[in-house]
């Protein structure tokens, strides 16, 4: 991969990667760090990465970084014993469907959320999502289906509530 190709990928993929990270972990600084780390690793391995598959490579790195961050956050939350904190859903802004949906996204499983994000935001095929997340096509498809069902249920509950 040449420098020009790499820079082209930066321009074409950094937004999508950042979006994917931000929608997942909700923290701007963490999302930016994930993007930086992903592109740094891409640069280091530029000679070993097929330029046609570097997008999937980037998202796989970002996904792994996110997993690490989320696990770390979970550990910290467990230690802080914040059981008295109000559920995030109750703090959400219900003024439109988009924030409701994004809030609902945060309530489904990590796996389901990621496959849906990759599918909807980035338009990846099941195969590509599988490459990023080390899943088979069927596993991806099932996770998307289950994730959408879960979202559907959450949204349905909210509709009833409202």
């Amino acid at each position: 991969m040449t420098i020009e190709e790499y820079n082209q990928i930066v321009y074409s993929q950094s937004d999508a990667l950042y979006r994917f990270a931000l929608k997942n972990i909700k923290v701007v600084e963490d999302a930016q760090e994930i993007v930086q780390t992903s592109f740094e690793k891409l640069w280091i391995n530029k000679n070993n990465v097929d330029p046609t598959k570097c997008k999937a490579y980037l998202f796989r790195i970002a996904y792994n970084c996110m997993i690490d961050i989320i696990r770390k956050q979970k550990r910290e939350v467990d230690m802080e014993l914040i059981s008295n904190r109000e559920p995030q859903s109750e703090q959400a802004d219900f003024r439109g469907l988009k924030p409701i949906l994004e809030n609902a996204l945060s309530q489904i499983s990590e796996m389901q959320r990621n496959v849906i994000l990759l599918r909807d935001y980035e338009g990846y095929s099941y195969l590509e999502i599988g490459e990023i997340m080390n899943l088979t096509e069927n596993q991806v498809k099932i996770n998307i289906f289950r994730g959408r069902q879960a979202l559907q249920k959450i949204l349905g509950k909210l509709e009833n509530y409202l």
Partner: protein, 287 residues
């Protein structure tokens, strides 16, 4: 709302995912239209599809951009160039430092008469009189080996005598003197030696120009007491000026290459004896 079978749920999901052909899609759509529950399920599932949020952009793209290899390698080149400059400056500084005269273990003997060729009048070399670059051979007739007495003179001797330019000499002399006195780090002994060498060379120049000849006579058994040895202060102010005036006026101080006894042993020391009208000076050049 009736519970919808999983098969139908999958079919609607496949429809929304765009995995069905147009015919299959048409069949499912007809099913949905005909069933209110399916329609509700379809619309609620459709709501779970996220719309791409183009408003979210990564603003630090420039920090990810890599520069071309040429720009990457500029810095090391700059460092290398800077290193070369530093080394050159260090070298020049080092080579400009007056050092003690190289010790000469050889002993000059009598009966040697050499013609010193005109000296190329090189300003830089004048300013760096300690840099020994030439050889005056003083042969020992009693020895089977013809051992050169090296590095007595300082500058390169000019093969073409006429290149010597007395008209530039005053300027050079003036600058040389300033330089010498400005270099306060020089010890008096070093100044003395530098002056003596300088005088020797200029005398040789004059002599070479006027007579094509100068005598440098190694002389045995001249005790230091035979000539008046000036102290450093006198050397730097009075005696040297006197010699310099002589040189300027065209009068050549008498210069002899002498050897002297040191500590009851003969000839371990080589010196220069310069005689003016009023005084005589002998200074050790090589010990």
């Amino acid at each position: 709302m009736k519970e919808i079978s999983e098969e139908l749920q999958w079919e609607i999901f496949e429809l929304l995912e765009g995995n069905l052909s147009s015919e299959e899609s048409l069949i499912i759509l007809n099913k949905i239209k005909s069933n209110k529950d399916l329609e509700n399920y379809h619309s609620s599932l459709k709501q779970t599809y996220l719309l791409n949020d183009d408003a979210i952009v990564y603003i630090n793209k420039q920090s990810l951009i890599r520069k071309s290899s040429w720009q990457i390698y500029v810095s090391p080149l700059k460092y290398a160039a800077a290193a070369v400059v530093v080394l050159c400056v260090s070298y020049l500084f080092y080579t400009n430092q007056p050092t003690s005269i190289q010790k000469q273990p050889r002993v000059a003997k009598n009966e040697t008469k050499k013609i010193i060729e005109p000296i190329e009048f090189n300003k830089r070399e004048q300013l760096i009189p300690m840099k020994l670059t030439n050889v005056v051979t003083v042969e020992d007739p009693n020895s089977s080996q013809n051992i050169p007495l090296e590095k007595l003179s300082l500058n390169k001797f000019n093969k073409h005598k006429k290149q010597f330019q007395p008209s530039s000499k005053l300027i050079e002399e003036y600058e040389f003197y300033n330089n010498l006195t400005a270099n306060t780090y020089l010890s008096d002994e070093e100044k003395k030696q530098i002056m003596l060498k300088w005088l020797l060379i200029h005398s040789a120049n004059y002599c070479a120009c006027q007579d094509d000849c100068i005598e440098i006579q190694p002389t045995k058994n001249i005790a230091l007491n035979d000539v008046e040895v000036k102290n450093d202060q006198q050397l730097s102010k009075q005696w040297i000026n006197e010699v310099k005036q002589m040189i300027k006026s065209g009068t050549i101080p008498k210069i002899k290459l002498v050897t002297s006894r040191k500590k009851e042993k003969w000839l371990p020391t080589l010196g220069i004896q310069v005689n003016t009208e009023n005084a005589s000076m002998i200074a050790n050049i090589i010990e």
